[in-house]
Amino acid sequence: MRVYRDDQKFLQFRINAVLWGIVAAFVFLAGSFWFVQGVQAEKYRGLSEANALREIEILPKRGLIMDRDGKILADNQPAYTLQIDRVVMKPLVKADEQRRAKLLAFLAQVLQRPPAEVQARWEKEAKEVPFTQPFTIADDLSMSQVAAIQAQSIAFPEVNVVPVQRRNYPYGTMAAHVLGFIGEVSEKEIKQNPDLEQGDLIGKRGVELMYDQYLRGRGGAEYWEYDADGRRLSEYVPARKQPVPGDNIYLTVDFELQRRAEQYFAENEMVGSAVVLDPRNGEVLAMVSSPAYNPNVYSKRFTPESWKEITSNPFKIELNRAIQGLYSPGSVFKIVMAMAGLSEGAIHPHTNFGCGGSGHFFGRRFRCWKKEGHGAVDVRRALKVSCDIFFYNTGGRLGVDNIHDYARKLTFGEISHIDLDGERAGIVPSTQWREEHPVRGDKKWYPAETISVSIGQGPLIVTPLQVANMTAAVANGGKVYQPHVVRYVDKVQTDGSYKRFRVPSRVLHEVELSPAALKAVREGLWAVVNEPGGTGSNAFVEGLNIAGKTGSVQVIAYSGWIKATSLPFKLRDHAWFASFAPADNPQVVAVIFIEHGGAGGADAAPLAKLLYESAFRGQVAGSRLDLRNPETLEKIREGEPPLPSPR
């Protein structure tokens, strides 16, 4: 025995103290229960009866998506779904063993579907949906189906036709990649966001995804009284919770511009992308990725046919080429080269290089696109005629790392943080990049590769949006904006009114570009469109000073000078056209990219012309309008051209 006997009395005392404390706690608890069950029993009994109410969810209306002027691009349409209520069904099954089989046969007949298919969906839904909530057995009923079911509503009280809201995109494929689409929430998304429930429809792509928390709204509920056997009696109206509709969203997209651009791609059966920006604030006025998917297909339950329609398309229709397509910039990159060369002092506005159609750099012969050569060219003319030899020389003087620095400053090689999902960064090569990405173990960057990069070839890949951002920075004097596709969010207030929030314009960073460099480059770009012999003269619009740069990108390496149109489609050059207008007071940036389009001047520039005519509608014929006045231009774009001043 240990010494602890001395302490035993002490321990005994403590145990007794605890014992009495616990007895007191139990008495207190019993007293509390007496208060609830004895004294307040009547009150709770009443509440319990009111509680034999079942909550039936009312889905909120999803917010509308509109263009910048309020034209509706996404709304909700009424549709009918068929639901089974197991609480109602349970006593019926008890009374009649064959109930379920009878019901399945009836449903298969009304829906004109094989019974096995109906049963398969039944079992799947019954597992996922809580017992007290009705589950959906069929969507998008036709009116005749609704009628056939309603006719049998007394025989099958567990079957309900329920009106629902179906997301609808009235213009089909229009602006599909900006709008995105919706779909049923996945397990993973439910885990990430506790507000979501099984069966909810949420945004999966584009604005529908990025602004889902605004668009979604908040569900309401109705409370229906049920008797002890689960039969529905009546709605308990005072408890009803009205759903809160989602917030409405105004895009920055201009309907008319978007339509023009898409029409051009569709009529010419072109694959590619167009991005129209406002260089003053980063608003995206149009964003096209062609071909596009039809977001309406995703709003419905997938059938094997609709699934096939999406997956069988060889042109990857879900890809948003404007932000996810990675391409060589080709001659469009010469804008960056000219800026870098002039700003770094590698060239001056009057530096001349002789072009004889080809030249030797670092032991290799490089060709100019023009076999006969351009003769002596300065930077202005080099941009105008897109002389390759001039930029080979510039690139040789700058070196790849200088080029890399300017390309990075002018938005290439990183995402732009646009409010759309899945944006890709592209690649801007440098000596360091090569060290991290060796070619067959070789970590050295060869100067000859710099020469290819100088005309936008080589391991340099960019998205059309990046090209548009770069062009906007050149147009506005060096400001790099965060591009955005949403202009306003109209938030629903508690009293049902809307409060408008503007998405702010954010300058991500500012590039220091010398005024002399800007002047020389802008003049060169102006000459591309407006002077005889410029490569972009197809974009010329009477009365509007457009500045731009064409580009054609080789898809395969071929030697010698050959005509692109003689190649099969998949091997043809890609066509670029990057531009802004008016040249001296830029309001609109338009970048067009056409996959396997052939030549930038011939295939991409005409769309720019159409877009500028649309953006500056009403003023093209009468050039007397004061186009330097931003207010006038704003009015023109809003579709209310002021009267030309009588002069």
Partner: protein, 367 residues
Amino acid sequence: MIFRDTGRPTIDWNFLGTAFVLACIGVLLVYSATYYSNPDLSYATRQIMWVVIGLCLMIAFMIVDYHVLFDVAPILYAIGIVLLLYLLIFGRLTAHVKSWIHIFGFQFQPSEFMKIFTALMVARFFDSNDRAYLDFRSFLTVMGIIGLPVGLIIVQPDFGTAAAFFPLAAVAMFFGGIRAKVWVAMVLAVLIVAPIGWFAFLKPYQKERVLIFLNPERDPLGSGYQVTQAKIAIGSGGINGKGFRHGTQAKLEFLPARHTDFIFAVLGEEWGFIGVVIVLGLYLFLVVQALDFAKHARDRGGTFLIICLISFIIFHVLINVSMQIGILPTTGIPLPLLSYGGSSTMMFFIAIGLIANVDMRRFVNAP
């Protein structure tokens, strides 16, 4: 102290019988709470399985002399710590928390078993510490034994389960003995640390729980909803209850977690105040018996083992029953032997077995 020197182990059947009756009531309540929504009776049949496994474990933990268990306690404790570490590194998140180990399609919470192992370690410590008051060093040792698993559970982060270790610390301090000035110092320390913990460590959903406790109207359809519904269920049961299988609240699923944390509300609704008093009485009987065993245990280790284990049961019962009618905030603390759940049912049967174990061997000559 006078020992009846019979020399044979005697089993207190009243004590074991009470535990078994409680477990049977639990099975009936689980059945009543779920038969309507799960007609395959999967919950009730599984709970029966847990009770059977629990009874087997209970017998196993009665047969082995608790002194042997004291000898292997460090090994069990180490295994528990390793499992908790394993969870932290490889655990899957279930409802914000990494506290489940998944094997062969089953999942169990090592933290439940860790409660037993930690209790064994604490009792083992006091077996060899026989002063009326803890000195500073032994105080730190015993807090370290408890603090290690608690720390690992807090980072899971599962505050509810970590809080369930609180009674151990209370037992160590109260029965181990702490001087008055130390008490004052600790109260001050808690007053300083609590606000820091609130702002630095609590997750938003945990803060929400505390805020709802302070103001139940805050979120009528969130956690406050559970308490409201539980109160309606209990209150509408009245004195006599609505009868077995006739609780509308539970049947129509108004009552959330009705087969686990809120099983007592099902009892209140279907069996009324009478049922509540009977079940509370059974628990009280269990506690009074166990404390009586503690007084008559053969050695200090046995006394502390019983006190540690019964303190778990007391803590769970008081917290769980209090939260049914909103006296305390809703936490994920199950009702011993009644709530549905494998790990907790097993752990409480082991606790019952160990208490009986100490009682059986209260005579020096017993094997």
